[in-house]
Every structure is written in structure tokens, then in C-alpha cells.
């Protein structure tokens, strides 16, 4: 076993103001490899806004996000991070395989090959199928397959369990546990209670 690198994602004193309404302020957290950060809160409490700040899409109105001690814009952060948001980010006119090839080209190749990732997310025989023919749950699993084929250590997931059935949820939980066991970290929002084995879960309640 080689020693796994440790990463550290920190947010210090973050605040977010939207339409003159303070969603959260003075929010700090620290997350290291192998941990999960679960954001909880009512609809509109700023969960997605916080995730988008962590993705670098939004500037926090105060505070700073740090990656291994450096501000995220000056660091290797974007090469280490993968995001699956509300939108699946797949093109419905392309096949499953074509979509994953584009994702792979945009990142660095990761732990699994495309075929292995498709086996992992139970989409093995769908590689030549156009995405518009997939069900909502299959699309979701496809967008999560993207996490497996690219090299990354932080997963930022916005409601990853939406439109997945029980097996799908269990499958994603397994993948998440594996990712943490391999030294990755995950920030997610979820309405479901997550069941992860041997993983430290931090919770932040935004409401």
C-alpha cells in the first residue's frame, strides 16, 4: 500500500447574500481526505449556493475557500474537483459512450476506464444508446459515472439521489464509501439520510 495523499478543503467565515437576504454568514468548515460533509437545511436555505461557491461558480460575499492552504483560484483545486449538479450535464443527442468520452477529454483519466465505470453504475449495455432514450435515474447514474472516469479527489454533489431508486441509492452510497476509503472527500446536499459505513460524516445545518 502506498501512502495516500491527504487533501484539505477549508471554508473560512463564508457568507452568501442573495437578493438582500442573508442565506448564511460566518460559516466555517474543514474537511480532510476520507470525510464527507453533508449540508442540510430547508429549501432555499442556501445549500446549492454554498455548493456553487465551493465549485467557484459564485464568489462568496465574504470569506474564502481554501484548498490545501491555498485560495482555490490559485491552486490545483479545479484539477482535483468534480461536480454533479441539479442538471445532469450530459447531451441528450449523444450516446452514453460519446458523453463519457467528452468528459474524459475535459479532465484527466482517473481510476476507472469508461467500460469499468459503466459496469460500476450498471449501465453496461447502454454505451451505444442515445441519452434521450435513458430514464431519469439512468441519466443520473451516467452523470455519476463521470466522477469515476476522471481523476479527482473532491466530489461536490447536489442532491445526487434525485430520481434514483433504492438500488441506485445503495449503489451510489457504496461508490461514495469507496471514494472516501481511497482518500477522497465529498461535499453533498441530500434530502435522504445517507448511510455510509466507516466514513466520518460532518453535518452543517443551514436553516
Amino acid at each position: 500500500m502506498t501512502a495516500k495523499p491527504t487533501f484539505r478543503l477549508q471554508g473560512t467565515d463564508l457568507s452568501c447574500i442573495r437578493d438582500d437576504r442573508i442565506l448564511f454568514e460566518g460559516l466555517s468548515f474543514e474537511l480532510v481526505s476520507g470525510e464527507v460533509l453533508l449540508l442540510e437545511g430547508k429549501n432555499g436555505s442556501g445549500k446549492t449556493s454554498l455548493l456553487r461557491i465551493l465549485c467557484g461558480f459564485r464568489e462568496p460575499d465574504a470569506g474564502q475557500v481554501w484548498w490545501c492552504g491555498e485560495a482555490i483560484d490559485d491552486s490545483q483545486y479545479y484539477a482535483d474537483m468534480a461536480y454533479v449538479g441539479h442538471l445532469d450535464g450530459v447531451k441528450k443527442e449523444l450516446t452514453v459512450l460519446e458523453n463519457l468520452k467528452v468528459s474524459l477529454a475535459l479532465g484527466q483519466s482517473g481510476q476507472y476506464s469508461i467500460q469499468q465505470a459503466l459496469i460500476k453504475v450498471h449501465l453496461t449495455d447502454y454505451d451505444e444508446v442515445l441519452v434521450q432514450a435513458l430514464s431519469a435515474g439512468q441519466k443520473r447514474r451516467l452523470s455519476l459515472a463521470r466522477l469515476l472516469i476522471t481523476k479527482n479527489s473532491v466530489w461536490i454533489l447536489d442532491e445526487p439521489f434525485t430520481s434514483l431508486d433504492k438500488q441506485g441509492i445503495a449503489l451510489i452510497e457504496t461508490l461514495m464509501s469507496e471514494h472516501c476509503a481511497n482518500g477522497g472527500m465529498i461535499v453533498l446536499t441530500s434530502h435522504h439520510d445517507i448511510e455510509l459505513h466507516d466514513v466520518a460524516v460532518q453535518r452543517i445545518n443551514l436553516s
Partner: protein, 224 residues
């Protein structure tokens, strides 16, 4: 994967998408052909007048056809979240965006070049100016895509950005229109047009270098 790999993957992806949604190619091309064929009908049997204004007709139609096609540049990527993924890539967003613009030009600009000589003959343009017409289109239409991309990137987050887009982009198209149609007109009289062509070349290189950055920055703002 390397940057060039990502760049070509984006171009290939957009070309495949365009082939699967053919109306995207057909729409601006059809518009271009329709507008030009309607002019002789509207003007009537005045071949000399038509011949005199032919460069202008072709260029104005090309410009409007390019405008018409602009919205499709980032719209679907914005709607389905692919744009977020492109911008999150560790590769420079401006290069990836340039890939998208090139693919967009190949799909919407290049077809205009192919039909333009036919339409020029149809309008009675002298055959010796056809070469210059093609050259101006070859140099000018990529500029339309490049400059237009900045405007689309700024307005893609707005639900009704169409009007603002035209107001933003049309003034910037004017220099291309002036030099390009002037070059074709002068070429018809047999005079040299090196100056106009050189200016178009410099506009092309300038926008090739300068347009992708603001486009990428504006896209980042739009997905916020």
C-alpha cells in the same frame, strides 16, 4: 488528457451534435438563400441596380444569418448543464470556448461560403469579383462568430436576451460589413483591394486572439 485533445474533443462533439440536429445547419443557410432570392423579386427587372447592390445584399444577408444562428452557440449547453462541466475543466476555458466557436463557424458560416458564389451569379455579380467575395466571407464570417460569441455569452443567462444580443453585437459587426462589401464592390471595377483584405485579416486575427477571453469570462458570469 492534454489541452489539444480536449480542444478537438469539443469541436468533434459539437459537429456530431449539429449533424444530429440538422435544423441548426439548415436554418441560417435557408435564411441566407431566401433573403437573397427575395431581393430580385422585390426590386423588379432592374439588373444594373441589382448588380450594383449585390455585394451589400450578400453581406447583409450573411450578417443577419450569422446573428440568427448565434443563440444556438451556448443555449443547449447552458440549459443541460454541460456548460458548467466545460467551465469546471482544469483546461483554460477560453481555449475550450474557442473550440466551440470554431465548430459553430464550421456549421453555420462555412455553408454560406459554399452557396455564396451561386447566389452572386444569380444577382449578376461580375465573375472576376467572385474570388474576392469568397475571400471576404472566409475572413469575415469567423469574425461574426467570434464577436457574436461574446454577446451570446453575456446574454445566455437571460430568458429574453435576443433583443439585447442584437443591440450588443450589431454595432461591432459594422466594420466587417463596411470593409467586406466595399472590397467586393471595388473588385467588381477591377481595382486592387489589398487594403480592405489586409484590414479584414487583421480584424480576424485580433478577434481570434481577443474574443475567447471575454467570452469565457462572460460565461462564468452567466452560469453564476
Amino acid at each position: 488528457m492534454s489541452l489539444s485533445h480536449a480542444f478537438f474533443a469539443i469541436i468533434r462533439r459539437d459537429l456530431v451534435l449539429a449533424l444530429r440536429r440538422r435544423s441548426e445547419i439548415a436554418n441560417p443557410l435557408l435564411f441566407f438563400i431566401l433573403v437573397i432570392t427575395l431581393f430580385p423579386l422585390g426590386i423588379g427587372a432592374q439588373p444594373h441596380l441589382l448588380q450594383a447592390i449585390a455585394p451589400g445584399i450578400i453581406w447583409v444577408s450573411a450578417l443577419l444569418a450569422a446573428m440568427l444562428s448565434l443563440d444556438s452557440l451556448f443555449r443547449s449547453d447552458f440549459d443541460d448543464g454541460s456548460l458548467e462541466q466545460i467551465l469546471l475543466s482544469s483546461h483554460p476555458a477560453s481555449i475550450l470556448v474557442l473550440g466551440k466557436i470554431i465548430a459553430h463557424w464550421l456549421v453555420t458560416g462555412l455553408p454560406l461560403l459554399i452557396v455564396a458564389p451561386l447566389l452572386a451569379i444569380f444577382l449578376g455579380m461580375p465573375t472576376h469579383s467572385l474570388g474576392i467575395l469568397l475571400l471576404t466571407l472566409l475572413l469575415g464570417t469567423p469574425v461574426l462568430s467570434l464577436i457574436g460569441a461574446i454577446g451570446v455569452a453575456l446574454t445566455v443567462g437571460l430568458r429574453r436576451g435576443g433583443m439585447i444580443l442584437s443591440l450588443l453585437v450589431l454595432p461591432l459587426y459594422v466594420p466587417v460589413l463596411i470593409f467586406a462589401s466595399n472590397a467586393v464592390e471595388i473588385a467588381g471595377t477591377g481595382l486592387p483591394v489589398d487594403a480592405q483584405i489586409n484590414i479584414l485579416i487583421s480584424i480576424l486575427f485580433m478577434s481570434l486572439v481577443l474574443a475567447p477571453w471575454p467570452t469565457a469570462a462572460a460565461l462564468k458570469m452567466s452560469i453564476n
